[in-house]
Amino acid sequence: MTLIDLANPTRFLALSARVLPWLAAATVILLTIGLYQSAYAPDDYQQGATVKIMFIHVPNAWLSMFVWGVMSVASLGTLVWRHPLADVAAKAAAPIGASFTFLALLTGSLWGRPMWGTYWEWDARLTSVLILFLMYLGLMALWRAVEDPSRAARAAAVLTLVGAINLPIIKFSVDWWNTLHQPASVMRMGGSTLDKAFLIPLLVMAVAFTLLFVTLHIAAMRNEILRRRVRSLQMMQASRIAFSSDVGTGSRQENASKGAA
């Protein structure tokens, strides 16, 4: 793993250093616009000002699922293509996804209190999101519990893919069971039913949060690559093995880049 990790992650580090400032800037700008628009969005005739929670709740809810999707793709990368960056991507995404899920749960409950008269109800949508949250935490625990990252990566990948079954359940739970939670109005067959006055700020916020995710994710991936570099150096130091013999280096490099291709 030592070299495989160093081969093309090095390129990733260089790339990330270049794009991160731009991404961060774009995120800040869009977030500012989105916040401004949502601040001046009209009150809903039913929900009053509480509709403003939507601009936080819905992007976070979407992202909570989106991030798991990203992790699932990365897991395929780990299991099928054994791509060296894939497990880094999966690991880095988990805490961010968990945070978004937490926010979706929190803002959802805060919205639920005025709307449904209760913070929490054990219905299918809410429950499946809670399960998603627990699975995020479980994954993070798994990553932390196992020191050998490549070992943890493969186990986490299997678990992530199994957990992906939860995504359609979350998405369609409102249609399959009649729940308190309202059915999809933005992303549904036959176009959005949401008023433009809400739709535009919502979409801006959604894009802004997605950018935020991308920025944080790339930064976290960079950290993770560095952490693994530290680890493999420490392992070398710990075992005091002379890694000087250059036998086989060539084929290893070759192998690594083959894996990356």
Binding site: A39, G48, T50, I53, S99, A219, V230
Partner: protein
């Protein structure tokens, strides 16, 4: 100017504040972690442990 938030102002403000806090924590985590790792890499570099390729361990900006 003040935006009127109606009777449930506290819920709305809490939502936005929570989102801000969580995002701030995430940013803090990413930044501190970066500092931490580069710091450790530099220490390892100083103590003479380098990667096989002979390059310095710290080749990040």
């Amino acid at each position: 100017m003040m935006i009127s938030l109606g009777p449930y102002a506290s819920f709305i403000v809490t939502s936005y504040a929570a989102a801000a806090i969580v995002v701030a924590i995430l940013i803090g985590w990413v930044v501190l972690d970066y500092r931490n790792q580069t710091q450790r890499l530099r220490e390892l570099d100083r103590s003479g442990v380098t990667r096989r390729s002979g390059r310095s361990a710290v080749d990040t900006p």
